[in-house]
């Protein structure tokens, strides 16, 4: 056990306690959290900085406004309902309009108008929000994901998570929904996590459950060696997220839209540690490297160049 802990430390694997004590607690100021915990604020910040986000159709802030829902989604065939302050993807619904006023979920099941209103009410009362406090509901554009992912994702929306420390992208992964994950891009629900080479934007090894996979279990297409389009833009967004929020240690979740290109889905002040498993590499050493050379990294370009140079796949 002790030996295992030592080997993990030598590999630079970051544990939850160390992430909290030495990174989020020190580099993320509490007063900045609302900027990322409230997705509405994140959206406004990103738009002000000229970064693309999914188009916002409407916001529901109190129970009475739930009846405005049909008006908000009028004219959109597909949309996403999400809590403004949700965490871990809880409470997010991706819907398409179906027959007889029903809404179709990615897994093919249907939802009635009343059920949707109930779900909206639940979000408002805060059962999905971080501290349990009353929340807002965002209704926004449903991403038509890039065809590159159609072959390696089962239902749901694949996304790209980049961890950025002091404005330097340090690690990235692609999360691919599977049948087991029920269309959700969440690793411990059964989605595939594939590490990404920061220099080239090409996927490395992929992890599914506790094992390594080369192909997607549902589509049987290879998941390694896939080149992610718009990679320079993604790195740019990740690097600029620091100036955007002021959070030193954050996770940037990006989706690739077929027509609109990269869209920032959300920012995360406490990004999970599974990315290390997907990349088969520890975060700790990379973070220390950035800390050691932070003085020389002034501009966004410097930081991206640093990342490409230092965190390329071996």
């Amino acid at each position: 056990m002790i030996g295992l802990a030592r080997r993990l430390r030598e590999a630079g694997v970051l544990g939850l306690n160390r992430r909290n004590a030495e990174y989020t607690l020190l580099y993320n100021q509490r007063r900045l959290y609302p900027l990322v915990d409230d997705k509405l604020q994140t959206k406004k910040l990103a738009l002000a900085a000229g970064i693309a986000v999914p188009d916002l159709y409407g916001v529901i802030e109190v129970q009475r406004e739930v009846r405005n829902l049909p008006r908000i989604i009028a004219g959109h065939d597909a949309f996403v309902v999400k809590p403004a302050q949700g965490s871990g993807g809880k409470g997010i619904l991706v819907l398409e309009k179906g027959p007889r006023g029903l809404y179709r979920k990615p897994n093919g099941s249907f939802m009635s108008e009343a059920e949707l209103a109930y779900h909206t009410g639940n979000i408002l009362s805060g059962i999905y929000s971080l501290g349990g406090q009353p929340d807002k509901v965002l209704i926004e554009y449903r991403v038509n994901f890039d065809p590159i992912f159609a072959r390696i994702a089962y239902q749901g929306v694949p996304d790209i998570r980049i961890i950025s420390f002091l404005g330097v992208p340090v690690m990235a992964m692609v999360r691919l929904p599977t049948r087991q994950s029920g269309g959700k891009a969440n690793l411990h629900q059964g989605a595939i996590g594939a590490g990404v080479d920061l220099a080239t934007g090409r996927t490395l090894t992929a992890v599914w459950g506790n094992g390594v996979v080369d192909t997607h279990p549902d589509t049987l297409n290879p998941v390694t060696g896939v080149e992610i389009p718009h990679w320079p833009t993604l790195l740019d967004h990740a690097a600029r997220a620091w100036e955007l929020t002021g959070l030193g240690y954050q996770g940037i979740d990006i989706v690739l839209d077929r027509d609109l290109g990269p869209l920032i889905l959300e920012l995360n002040a406490r990004p999970g540690l599974n990315i290390q498993i997907a990349n088969r590499a520890g975060l700790g050493l990379r973070l220390e490297k950035v800390k050691a050379s932070r003085d020389g990294l002034k501009t966004v370009e410097d930081r991206i160049a640093f990342a490409r140079e230092n965190f390329a796949a071996a």
Binding site: M1, R7, L8, G15, N17, G121, S125, I127, L273, A281
Partner: protein
């Protein structure tokens, strides 16, 4: 981050705590472990009877508090009955009454007693009247014959008692003793017969009814011995062999040949007594010592508080111990639980309900709560009304369980008062969300995890030594505080992470 400030703070806190602790242990000789041979006992009397439907009036004899045998923390649980205590000759009595009652009734009396030291001289008391017990001709003749036989051989009251009891114990068919005793050879019969004979001979004597306080017992039988009035004092004699003195580790409860409960308007009552050790008074000596040294620790410590408040702090002061364990389990081991401190609150509830019943209650309430919660899902209620509805269901379920368990004669069901209803409700709500989002397995795993943590917390918080140390040495809280502060900067791996990241071990990071 410079941790020196933190280490310094934790060090100072621990140093202060250990200094006070050391002073109390080494100089004031406070006991570090709970005293095994406690001299204080908690005793509970439970009176069950069947009321006839009219007024009920009863009297229950109580122990009298003396300087050598103090009785404290008396409490009655009497429901609608009116209770008054009065002096009843040799005894103290509680009179209980009600205008109308039907069916089975239960009353409780609880008190804490302290055993007198083995060598004890009884206090003088006024001359009692000699109530000769009415006897028939044959008995009278037998008693007189026995006295005539024994008196010349006895040098004093002690030898007379020895001879009398031995004679009664060894009664042979046909002799005087056998005639007096009749069919029974019980201790009570022997005591009553000895008293009859003594009184016939002009010596005031009475029966003493009490209890042996040797171990924790659910139901204990009443023990009997004799007191004889000699030279302005009642002297005790044992009923086994007539030896002088109260039987070892026995506490006298009431005196006289009557039953402890007399009642009108109801059937013959059934009384059960249970005893358990009470440890708090083992500390008396230490507190006395601190008083003589001049440090008045009693007045400026938890021992100076009213007993009720002390009881509350007995519970509160072990909570930090449970919380410390929780921090360890969450941040070092890496277990996940519903609600940050929920397991500790459940563990506190277990103190009242005890483990098996507590786990049963928790499982039943959560199970029924979840069932109701899933049913309410269909009604599409808003969050706060939905939670309120679950609170009511939880309370209803607990009340129902209490009633059922009481009817089945199982007392554990009555001690649910501390069960954290609101916390349980939040647990149920969170569990259903996890159930929906992550599936039943994950929800049940997390609930079971919370329960396991609660059990660990309970076992630790309920350990006798922990309760003793926390209450007698509350300064040790500072050590826990220091420990928790240090854990607050613990940045090593959690045990569960070793498994989670196992695949990354032994590989080059780049």
């Amino acid at each position: 981050m410079n941790n020196r400030h933190l280490y310094w703070l934790a060090g100072v806190l621990a140093a202060i705590a250990f200094a006070i602790f050391g002073y109390k242990v080494l100089i004031l000789k406070f006991p570090v472990t709970p005293d095994r041979l406690a001299t204080a006992w908690r005793i509970e009397a439970r009176i069950d009877f069947n009321a006839h439907g009219g007024p009920v009036l009863g009297e229950f004899l109580l122990p009298r508090s003396t300087t050598t045998r103090p009785v404290f923390n008396e409490a009655f649980v009497s429901g609608p009955y009116g209770i008054a205590t009065r002096d009843a000759g040799d005894n103290r009595a509680a009179v209980f009454s009600i205008a109308e009652a039907t069916g089975p009734q239960t009353l409780f009396y609880r008190a804490t007693l302290e055993l007198a030291p083995a060598t004890e001289t009884p206090a003088p008391s006024p001359t009692p009247s000699l109530n000769r017990v009415p006897m028939n001709e044959a008995e009278l003749a037998a008693a007189r014959a026995l006295l005539v036989k024994l008196r010349p051989r006895a040098a004093g009251i002690s030898t007379l008692m020895g001879l009398l009891i031995t004679n009664l114990r060894n009664a042979r068919p046909g002799d005087e003793a056998s005639l007096l005793l009749g069919n029974s050879r019980s201790t009570r019969r022997i005591v009553d017969t000895a008293i009859k004979v003594l009184r016939q001979g002009g010596i005031p004597a009475r029966r003493v009814n009490g209890f042996a306080l040797a171990e924790d017992r659910r139901q204990i039988g009443v023990a009997h011995w004799i007191e004889v009035y000699v030279e302005d004092r009642w002297l005790p004699f044992q009923a086994t062999d007539g030896a002088a003195g109260v039987p070892p580790r026995h506490f006298p409860w009431w005196r006289g040949e009557q039953n402890s409960v007399t009642i009108t308007g109801a059937d013959r009552p059934h009384i059960t007594y249970s005893v358990s050790m009470a440890h708090q008074f083992a500390l008396r000596a230490a507190l006395e010592r601190s008083r003589t040294i001049g440090v008045n620790l009693t007045d400026f410590s938890l021992f100076g508080l009213p007993f009720q408040t002390q009881q509350v702090y007995r519970i509160l002061l072990v909570v930090p111990v449970g919380i410390f364990l929780l921090v360890l389990l969450r941040n070092v081991v890496g277990l996940r639980t519903f609600g940050t401190f929920m397991p500790v609150l459940i563990a506190m509830a277990f103190r009242e309900t005890h483990l098996i019943w507590g786990i049963t209650l928790f499982s039943i309430v959560v199970f029924l709560g979840i069932s109701v919660r899933f049913y309410l899902e269909h009604l599409k209620l808003l969050l706060v009304p939905r939670l309120a509805a679950i609170v009511i269901v939880v309370i209803g379920v607990m009340a129902l369980l209490s009633v059922i368990s009481f009817k089945l004669g199982f007392m554990g069901g009555l001690s649910v008062a501390l069960f954290p209803i609101v916390i349980l409700t939040m647990t149920i709500e969170r569990m259903t969300v996890v159930w929906d989002e992550r599936g039943a397995m994950e929800a049940i795993t997390q609930a079971a995890g919370s329960l396991v943590v609660a059990i660990f917390c309970y076992l630790l918080m309920n350990a006798q030594i922990v309760g003793h140390l926390a209450f007698v040495f509350p300064e040790l809280l500072l050590v826990l505080l220091a420990g928790i502060l240090l854990l607050g900067r613990y940045s090593g791996y959690r045990l569960t992470e070793l498994g989670r990241f196992r695949v990354l071990a032994g590989k080059d990071p780049q």
